[in-house]
Symmetry: D2
Subunit: 323 residues, 4 copies
């Protein structure tokens, strides 16, 4: 293998740059040339390529976002666009691909691989931690700490005013960010899609807090929570307990940015190294991951289709820790 | 003067605790007893008093929120409640009051003072910086840095996706937080109530950014912006330029919390000292403030009624800095 | 079991308070009374006990340090003092102990247990991560991120001046903090006691950096590094390469403080719960830990005497990532 | 004026990049070309010039360090090297200079100006805040907050162990960083060169703390403190009070790095704009500064030679706030 390409796609996540850096430097270490594809599949189709040297990735390990940029490109579902992308890669002499992203990214990579046989390995880059085949995804730890920092700040004002806050955090269909930031933030209640909840239970819990003379109360609500978003649940709570001073805070896009945590930088570096060394070893159509601190490779099929379970024992913790 | 009371009221602001600490320790330094009133005017009416010692305020200089808590208490507009508050204070032996808060807080204090003659000095505690008689209010610098940190994070994801973000920040009717966090965050546009804007100008500016190949674009919108909130303005922009990838982020209550900045801790300490020493010197019905680094006392009337101007020259800076 | 005691001992670590909170609330959840022992073994001998309620641990999950305080007490090696401690505990009705700390803490606990049979479980609280029987210790992740933040700041000034920095980090005899903060900080070289190094290799590496036109260069040195401390190594490097602009920064005690990270708060909470539930289940003389995300109990003997290995593969990463 | 050059020199300071950005964009706004000189006077002599466009300074407003780099170059004291620098600038068509730095930087600029008449304006970039002619220098607020964050962390561990810490902060011959970070950090004592101190007073103060049952105690020591550095003073204290658990922490170079605070970014932007607009207006041989929130120009002579006084009233605050 003489030349590979690396790209980031889908929602950006802190640590993607650390992963790009690891891919570039590992390739150089093994005597392989690297190019970066800008803006994911869109750039592949537009031949928006940039040669990557060791210097290209200097001082990016601590930068949020992705220097290779990302973009939506739904047209990639059509084979004609994938053909164009493949032709561009071949014209450039690319013999292998490293795709950094989530579910959608790997779906595109799998199709490209299946259609044209170009060896491809994925690195799990998403703050949502919703990929099967790795304990943590790149960006998750940073997003949890960003959400936690926000919850800590909200706690200051909640406690000062004896207020109830419903704090909505990201996570798409999964409750990982909500569960971890909620436990770490000492939330009185955490609502995630993986665990059945009801408005009645939320209200019951609010009442219990009041009786225990815990007048401030924080409920962390996952983006994908099934009974509704934070605003909806807050309204229902307000209807049931009109005397409470209830507020909503949707943390939004701050959760995607910022300097990656140590854990995310190391994770991203290990996965980037594993991806390049996997390609060299002849692997393809897999995602590199870390399970129990060991590098693993999971087929794109499993990574995309299998559901990563949330440890529901954590919910028990919330109950105990609010005793 | 043998005994004074201190309380916080209105929206909490980082640095209020540093101010409480300074009030308590300055009183002790001058041989004056201090009690804290919990939950502002509500606690005054409920006689919810707590004796304050030097130890009561240990290690609070860096804590967000207010250990004395705050609460709304609209009933204080009725003189009968103010009478009750006054009677409680007298029963406790209180001879002077330090009120930490904003406009509404000082309005209550002024009425109490005018009705019953209890000497009162205010300290400007609000993140909004909208009080006449001081260059900065307690909490403003911290809130600006919190908003800036969020804008920096949003910039990461905006730049990665070539997106346009409308970021709404707090400030009530004033644009101080928006202007400072916007300039510091390198915002391409800043909308504040003090400066007339129009949707057309916003769109014009967006187009100019596109032509200059600055594909990511951040517009900071003050809470009090007259053409509408961030969501409304974003919709109008989307209608005019449907190809843009436009997002909205409302930073919300995170701006109220967090450890106060160095500037806020020092400011709060100076103002707290000045308030107690002002009471001792026989001042009353005034707010302590810092103008051009000098302690000043401004009448409650002026602090409440006069409008603190926003330096509109700053808007010129935004234009220059986006050249 | 009706009543237990909890204490912190040895060097403080961020997350100890989260662990104390979990111990207290888990005990309450299971109907067990809890007292806190202040200042570790010294307080046990002085009968410096404080009853712990749910409110005692409100809002401490995010606080650095330990509300129960810690102290050195070398006299505990004498059985007469341990007898005194035991008598005090018995007089208080204590039937089980939770010890939060490191090696020295567990050694004391083990002796107390062996002498008098009081059931005891330990929670691994030390920033150094040098305890066998758990993947991470409480405080390690926070300390790594604090060191990383410092390295990031030092990188700013190193890069501006083309300087070489030797940055000394904590970790006692182990290189965990050095290795993780070094990789995450993009260090050009990392010196840890677990891996044989030499001044010659350090200088060789510095020369290689110069040839690769990487004029700024950061070497992270573990406190326990065998060839000497950062100042010594820097002097040797200066002698060999007098033209280099070499500086030393010893990060020192900032690494012990600060709000714990999300990971540390969750880890501490899980370990605290596991410790109490272990006592209830009849376990003793063990440390609760988390290995591969599962709660485990390791005998004090193993925790104290077995050496936790540092993954030397990580050093290979450093070489690759500096290609 | 058609073309100007900008450079940074001396110790780097957070906000220098924000200043470079403002200089570049203001020049572009007024139709003036800009080049950057890399590594200060050394680059001027080496003709190490780089053209600066609006894009050159994108997304640097929040970056620590200086993208133009800095370097010592003592040879600039010889007129022959200044002649070389001047010739290089003239060959490049440079008609004006913006020098970002401190005392040494302005001394070089003044000589160059006096020898060859090239119009030059300085921007005060130093964390030490020791320049006459401006209330704040670029980087000071960030350095104070960085030192404060470290002191807050050290407070965690000091309080947990009832320890005394001597914390040494930067500031060269001035005590600004020490005074502000010390007051904001709630230090029990602050030693700065501007105020006469003695070991006896330090020890007296330590004893008073002990009597007030404030067992933890933080003394902030300015780098330029005349009775000695933190290590020396700590030794003397230990000799006098051998029972105290005394530690020293020298914060070191972390104080130079990091993302600049909002205040520093705005200050740097205003000063950069003022410098370019000053050059256009025909000013030279002056430093732009902000006094009482107004832009001012102070002669290099005054900026270099006059001593900026430290408000010694602040020391009185320390005494009051420790009551």
């Amino acid at each position: 293998m003489k030349k590979i390409a690396v790209f980031t796609s889908g929602g950006d996540a802190p640590g993607m740059n650390a992963c790009v850096r690891a891919v570039v430097r590992t390739a150089i270490y093994h005597g392989i040339e690297v190019i970066g594809v800008r803006r994911g599949y869109k750039g592949m189709v537009d031949a928006d390529f940039v040669p990557m040297t060791s210097h290209s990735v200097s001082n990016i390990i601590g930068q949020g976002g992705t220097i290779l940029k990302s973009a939506r490109f739904d047209e990639f579902r059509d084979i004609e666009w994938r053909k164009k992308a493949y032709d561009n890669l071949i014209a450039e002499g690319v013999e292998g691909l490293i795709a950094i992203g989530g579910n959608g990214t790997f779906t595109g990579a799998k199709l490209l691989m299946e259609n044209f046989g170009i060896p491809t390995i994925g690195c799990p880059g998403t703050i949502d931690n919703d990929l099967f085949g790795t304990d943590y995804t790149i960006g998750f730890d940073t997003a949890v700490n960003t959400a936690l920092d926000a919850i800590d700040k909200i706690r200051d004002t909640a406690a000062s005013h004896d207020r109830v806050f419903f704090v909505e955090v990201m996570g798409r269909d999964a409750g990982f960010i909500a569960m971890q930031s909620g436990i770490a933030g000492g939330a009185e209640d955490i609502l995630v899609p993986e665990i059945p909840d009801s408005i009645d239970e939320v209200i019951e819990n609010l009442k219990k807090g009041g009786e225990n003379e815990k007048p401030s109360h924080i409920v962390v609500v996952a983006e994908g929570e099934e009974i509704g978003n934070a605003t909806f649940i807050a309204q229902k709570a307000k209807e049931a307990m009109p005397n409470l001073d209830i507020r909503v805070s949707n943390l939004g896009h701050i959760q995607r940015g910022g300097a990656p945590s140590a854990l995310d930088r190391i994770l991203a570096s290990r996965m980037g190294i594993a991806a390049v060394e996997g390609l060299i070893a002849g692997k393809s159509n897999v995602m590199s991951g870390i399970i129990n601190d060991q590098v693993t490779y999971t087929s794109f099929d499993d990574a995309i289709n299998k559901k990563k379970p949330l440890d529901v024992e954590l919910n028990k913790m919330v109950e105990i820790l609010n005793s």
